[in-house]
């Protein structure tokens, strides 16, 4: 292998591929990048056997070939070289890395030992614009459970919506809250769709190239693959059955409030200062024309903040975990928010006024009678 490339081209992409390098794998090969020079491109891959990432960088390839190189050292070295042309060449069992001033010789492992990150791409199911990923995926994925012991809850359910506007229905839940985006129409069956590990969806937001992203699914390989201009993110699908989320979406409410999201968010943030000292409980009192956000801590005192709201229905009270509120509020964008509830023990529903496709449900905390 003999190739040269511009350092500026590699920087961001290498940090993306670095996400797939396993941090403490017992298999030494997985601590490596796999670098391949081919047809004017340098293809860099990494995998931790759970996900795989591949990026490609334009390069001047004099001689095709491949090599593996210790990822950590390679990444650190490259981030210290700010700019300029970098040469790569294999010689015996070594990879030589050089600029006009630096010359580094890396030990390599035989490239053949590096696992393939995917067997086949699978069928293309959709093309999505990058901004959709930023906006839509991120408003759902945070609700997934970090616990791999409950496979279905650690993933995001993705269903393709057929007919009418093309798009996805996405749902994630950790059993305490649920985030949903995408228009529900009656044709969306309760089965079908894929459960994609939350980690892959999170990685997806690092795949930045201002280009559309192709989505491929291979039933045979039980895998999902995202491709954007030579960059590939691949992982397995979760086979567990996603819980029946449709059943828990409340259809009725006895109180409905409309309010400014930013105002509400800052009120919750302020109250969270007190809440974190006391089980993270934040109480919302929905009154005639406002919402009172309240938190108290035995050691600090208590605080309450009024948020103007347009309220329909009866006055009500409900308590939530501050963390859930904050995570949810920081992950979505919108101006006017709608909150609907039916009693202090039933899940509360947050919606965006201008975006009917979004829905967030949080399970309340049962407060002791005061």
């Amino acid at each position: 292998m003999k190739a040269s490339f511009l350092c500026e081209n590699v920087d961001k992409k290498l940090s993306f591929v670095n996400h797939a390098v396993s941090q403490r794998s017992q298999l030494p090969i997985l601590l490596n990048f796999h670098i391949q020079a081919k047809k004017g491109n340098l293809i860099i891959k990494a995998t931790d056997l759970e996900i795989g990432i591949q990026v490609s960088i334009p390069a001047n390839v004099e001689q095709e070939g491949e090599a593996t190189v210790p990822a950590r050292a390679f990444y650190d070295l490259l981030s210290n070289v700010q700019k300029g042309i970098i040469f790569l060449a294999t010689k015996d069992n070594n990879l030589i890395f050089g600029t006009d001033k630096i010359k580094t010789v890396f030990q390599t492992t035989p490239a053949g030992e590096f696992p393939k990150i995917y067997e086949e791409k699978g069928g293309k199911i959709a093309t999505i614009p990058e901004e959709t990923i930023e906006k839509e995926f991120s408003s759902v994925v945070f609700a997934a459970s970090p616990d791999p012991g409950r496979p279905a809850l650690s993933g995001v359910l993705i269903k393709k919506i057929s007919g009418g506007k093309e798009g996805f229905l996405m749902v994630a839940t950790d059993g305490f809250r649920l985030s949903l985006r995408g228009t529900q129409n009656k044709n969306t069956e309760s089965d079908g769709g894929f459960v994609v590990p939350a980690r892959i969806i999170k990685e997806l937001s690092f795949m930045k190239d201002n280009k559309d992203v192709g989505v491929y699914v291979s039933k045979k390989g039980n895998q999902i693959l995202f491709e954007q201009e030579g960059s590939i993110l691949v992982g397995r699908l979760i086979e567990a059955k996603f819980p029946n989320y449709q059943k828990i979406i409340p259809q009725d409410f006895s109180t409905r409030a409309e309010f400014d999201k930013t105002e509400f968010q800052s009120a919750v943030k302020t109250c969270a200062v007190f809440a974190r000292e006391a089980a993270n409980i934040i109480k919302l009192s929905i009154l005639k024309n406002k919402i009172k956000v309240w938190a108290s801590a035995p050691s600090l005192g208590e605080t309450e903040i009024d948020v103007d709201a347009e309220v329909l229905g009866e006055e009500n009270e409900i308590a939530f975990n501050a963390r859930y509120l904050l995570e949810f509020l920081s992950n979505i964008e919108g101006e006017v928010m709608v909150f609907e509830m039916a009693g202090p023990l039933n899940p509360g529903v947050f919606k965006l006024k201008d975006d009917p496709s979004f829905l967030h449900i949080i399970m309340p905390i049962r407060l002791q009678a005061q």
Binding site: S25, Q26, L27, P28, L30, T47, L49, E50, G52, G112, E113, P115, K116, I117, Y118, E119, S145, G149, R150, P151, A152, L153, T173, D174, G175, F176, R177, L178, G221, N222, Q223, V234, G235, R236, I238, E239, A240, P243, N244, K247, I248, P250, Q251, D252, F253, S254, E310, L312, G313, E314, A342, G343, L345, N346, P347, P356, I361, M363
Partner: protein, 448 residues
Amino acid sequence: MMQDNNQLWKIILNEIETEVSKANFLTLFKNTSLLSFEDNVATISAPSTMVIDLLQKRFYQVIKKSLDKHLKGNANIIFVPKAINKNEDIGMGPLFVEVSKTPLLIGHLPKVRKDYTFDTLAVSSSNQLAYVSAQSVAKKPGSSYNPLFIYGPVGVGKTHLMHAIANHIYKETPGRKIVYITSEEFTNEVVEAIRTNDTARMKRKFRNTDILIIDDVQFLAGKEKIQEELFHTFNTLVDKESQIVLSSDRPPSDIKKMEKRLSSRFSGGLTVDIEPPDFELRTAILLIKAKKYNFDLPIEVAKTIAEKILDTRSLEGNLLRLMTEMEAQVSPIDVLLDKILKGETQIEPSYHHPDEIIKNLCNFYRIKPTQIKSQKRSASLVRVRQIAMYLLRKELGLSLVEIGNILGGRDHTTIMYGVDKIENLLVGEGFSDEIKKVVHFSKTGRTN
């Protein structure tokens, strides 16, 4: 068979463990399983494509050797990506548990009675047109008749129909914004908005609705500012195809002191009237109401009541009375019935609203109701105010505190003094005649 495979694979894994490095075993073999073994083909599952690739590259022979040894054959191995879920029966969290246990609260719209639905309304020729058009509005809000204007005398079911429309739309499409409001409440909201200088909020509230239902619009007569507000709201809503439903006790053209542009808009959609219920309908209403109270009403009895009583509301009142009497006494039903119906003709409904009395009183003395409630204390005004206190106390039996509130927040001792004062004055002949006239006028609005 499944059991066999699992056990076999366990044995094989134990063997492999001794042959490969610990790191390899833990990362690559740990989550594998033998799915099937048929016709010399062993299907082995592993969690991901990458794992499979490594297994194939490095350990195909190791696995094959072990398999061959135990199965005494020449096995081919196929790998399939499949995650094994060991913990499938772990719960899904409270969000999913709670819901399956407790039925959803059936919420209902504010100010709308849940039991007023299309199913609970008795239909006959007198209200059929109104019933059908209300149903069609409820099914296709905004696109069938807009506005729907229902008029008819009291107690014919206008309000029931309007509630039914609201309930139906709410049930079918819960996300719709439905506002049901009486014209008095509408007036209050507008006045309040003007008073607090916050008309924007009020406008947003009414102009963003999908369905606006206003009951008894005839009460808006003479209130110009309110009419203007309704006029603009009306236009906005019709433009965005929101449904409007209105009711009144008379057709739009007959509502006096209603701006032309508004009343013409009222009749711009469909105007339907409801006539007072005929005998058959009254009987049906009685039977429906009786069913609601789980009371087994013989049809003959229902007919007898329906013959005598024309007003729908008192139908229910009499039914209730009959039911209570039957619980209390053992007399046969027709005896009780006679008693009740006889009483009915004697008792003249004589409910008067405090505002009505005050209004009439003010008309009599040609002053404004606001004056009587004001803090002004000119001699003539004080006298009228005291008469008002007296009337409210004697005619309506209101409490001193209530009267104080009605008359602009006065202390109950003031009211007590006022009532005493008039009582004392009644001893004199001239004044007593005047009071008699006033009492009569206040109750009827007529001088004779």
